[in-house]
Amino acid sequence: MPRTFVILVINPGSTSTKVALFENEKEVFSKTIAHAPADLAPFKRMADQYDMRLNIIEKTLQSGGVNLKSIDAVMGRGGLLKPVLGGVYAVNACMLEDLRRAERGEHASNLGALIADAFAQKNGVPAYIADPVVVDEMDPMAKVTGIPEIERRSIFHALNQKAVAGKVCAELGLRYGGARLIVAHLGGGISVGAHRSGRVVDVNNALDGDGPFSPERAGSIPAGQLAALCFSGDLTLADVKKRLTGRGGLVAHLGTNDIRVIEEKIRNGDERARLVLDAMIYQIAKHIGAAAVVLDGKVDAIAVSGGLAMDESLVMKLKSKVGWIAKVMVYPGEEEMHALALGALDVLNRRVQPGVYA
């Protein structure tokens, strides 16, 4: 009888912190703690929120009757670290130092390893992170752009991309190291990754405005026109950034980033809404096509995931554009907590060695 491992998972987001307890693959406790903007306002830097978030998580676990004595490991969401290969990493001093300094950017996920480490220390168990957004397995050729000082960088939804790739392989009986997959993560941001030999060798960087437009991001924009907009004198850098991230894409065209609202508009005959949503699907399809080239056209499957994959009409339209490349498999939603727990389980079951962050 294999033993049961108990894993505490900590996933800090910009306006909430998710905590969960897993017994092997089974989630036995989970809570999303919302943080009101007023509670976050006093903190200048992300690392300053550490005590506040730690305290509230402890209280939440206590009142939920969670016994931390039995935990075998703590898994935190990875943050903006140095570029790393995908996988599970043991939390170490070097990682904590980098996250406190936040030289590669401030993001709530930077707190994941810091808080996980606190719980791990208290209970004398190891702490890990898995597949942070900075996973970089990109082919050097894929990083080149037409302006030498601008490099395409690998920053993407690595956690969900890898988790979905794992599910596809399990379903098709493939080894991830031998599979050739295209994974499209369709959420507030969209990333399309080409997975080959266990690595994501090319992926668009949604955070840097690369790729299809998405519910809240503008994606790739005609370069000359974008430069002209920057020099128009009408907009500050902050204004333009907002047009690209947060207020770009569907929300810019239709005033909402909510796909259900948009589908409702379309059902009510809103032709503009239909055209804009179809255009987003069209751009996703073009990127999936491009990703097929990265795999020389030998693609075992295309997997579609994320919140937008719950929209059946969207998925159907996408399939009609890219079904010729490979079969399309759908994994709606995003199970970050589950994916993180599985990462810890792999280590506890000695299926993988955790990487060392340096």
């Binding site: 752009t145 302006i147 000359g224 974008l226 255009a279």
Partner: protein, 360 residues
């Protein structure tokens, strides 16, 4: 057999540093002359229109020396410019297009805009018809292709339409078919690179070589938007300098100091690893754009073709072919066939195979 008449067509193709002039009988060249201009002459006062007088005189001198009388011609065919968006085809030059060019109502100032003025001036009152064919402003986009993630920045259709459509016709003939019965992905590989999805002869999407797509010998192509914006606000560049980094001084030349693909290949042959990485990256981006256009056509692609000057490179086309062969058979049809394409465009109308389109 259809009409056996021999058509004599004068073709005029003004580029930024040349005017190419040729006489064709049907599609066979009788003579051809390339008039060359120093780049600084192009930027002389008066802008593009300021070049009209001396370019016209030079063409007239060529006609004199070749003893070619306007009255002996069946038609004049000229290169079209960056006019308002138009569907592809052969257009009869009329007052509307002349007026737009004279008053700067064009999308971009470019020497090719002069073609219609030169053609019209040469024909004068002779009654000889003057046509322009498949200008760069050919726009056959589906509405869906126009939308970007910032509503006021629409994707626009600029395309090497003349060479792409002419090459597509050559390929269709080779396949014993007609471009109106084929779905093609066509790439024009030159100083700029255009890759388009052709649905039954219509260019329904193209990367727009001055705004995005693969980087090319002289152009930057698509860039991550945020990185581009940061560079624009860095204070290090003016808008003009940024524009040059995007078109003219981007791509191969920015990385390697040369836009000459032969030079780059020589360096690769001598073991220059950086040159190889950059050149391979360009091929990689070309292949990705081709597959993106295949997705536009839902994978229903009869053939992929590679045209333009860079398609002479066996190395480059070999790398691209390897990656896109899964889509459809790949045909390499190198070079520009602009002069012949212009003559053929005029002939299709003279023979009654097509009706001349109206600009206005």
């Amino acid at each position: 057999m259809k009409n056996q008449t021999v058509f004599r067509i004068l073709v005029i193709n003004p580029g930024s540093t040349t005017t190419k002039v040729a006489l064709l009988e049907n599609d066979k060249p009788v003579w051809s002359v390339t008039l060359e201009y120093a780049p600084e002459r192009g930027s002389s006062s008066g802008g593009m229109l300021g070049q009209f007088d001396f370019r016209l005189r030079d063409v007239e001198r060529v006609l004199d020396s070749k003893k070619t009388a306007i009255s002996s011609l069946s038609a004049v065919a000229v290169r079209g410019g960056l006019f308002k968006p138009l569907e592809g085809g052969t257009y009869r030059i009329d007052e509307a297009v002349l007026d737009d060019v004279r008053h700067g109502r064009v999308q971009i100032e470019h020497a090719s805009n002069l073609g219609v003025l030169l053609g019209d001036a040469l024909a004068g009152s002779s009654g000889i018809p003057v046509f322009f064919i498949d200008p760069v402003s050919v726009d056959e986009f589906e509405p869906i292709a126009r939308i970007s993630g910032i509503p006021e920045l629409e994707r626009k259709s600029f395309v090497h339409a003349l060479n792409i459509k002419a090459t597509a016709r050559v390929l269709a003939e080779k396949l014993g078919s007609d471009i109106h019965d084929l779905n093609l992905v066509g790439a024009n590989l030159g100083g700029g690179i255009s890759i388009c999805a052709m649905n039954k002869g219509r260019i329904v999407d193209v990367n727009n070589a001055v705004e995005g797509g693969p980087f090319s010998p002289e152009r930057a192509g698509s860039l991550p938007s945020n990185s581009l914006v940061r560079l624009c606000y860095s204070g290090r560049f003016t808008l003009d300098e940024m524009k040059k980094r995007l078109v003219g001084q981007g791509g191969l030349v920015a990385h390697l100091g040369t836009q000459d693909a032969r030079e780059v290949e020589k360096r690769i042959g001598a073991g220059d690893a950086k040159a190889e990485l950059i050149y391979r990256a360009m091929a990689y981006q070309i292949a990705k754009e081709i597959a993106a256009m295949a997705a536009v056509l839902s994978g229903k692609v009869d053939a992929v073709f590679l045209a333009g000057g860079l398609a002479h490179s066996a190395l480059l086309t070999g790398w691209v072919r390897e990656r896109v062969a899964f889509i459809a058979p790949v045909y390499v049809l190198p070079g520009e066939r602009e002069m012949e394409a212009l003559a053929r465009g005029a002939m299709r109308v003279l023979r009654g195979e097509e009706k001349a389109k109206i600009y206005a």
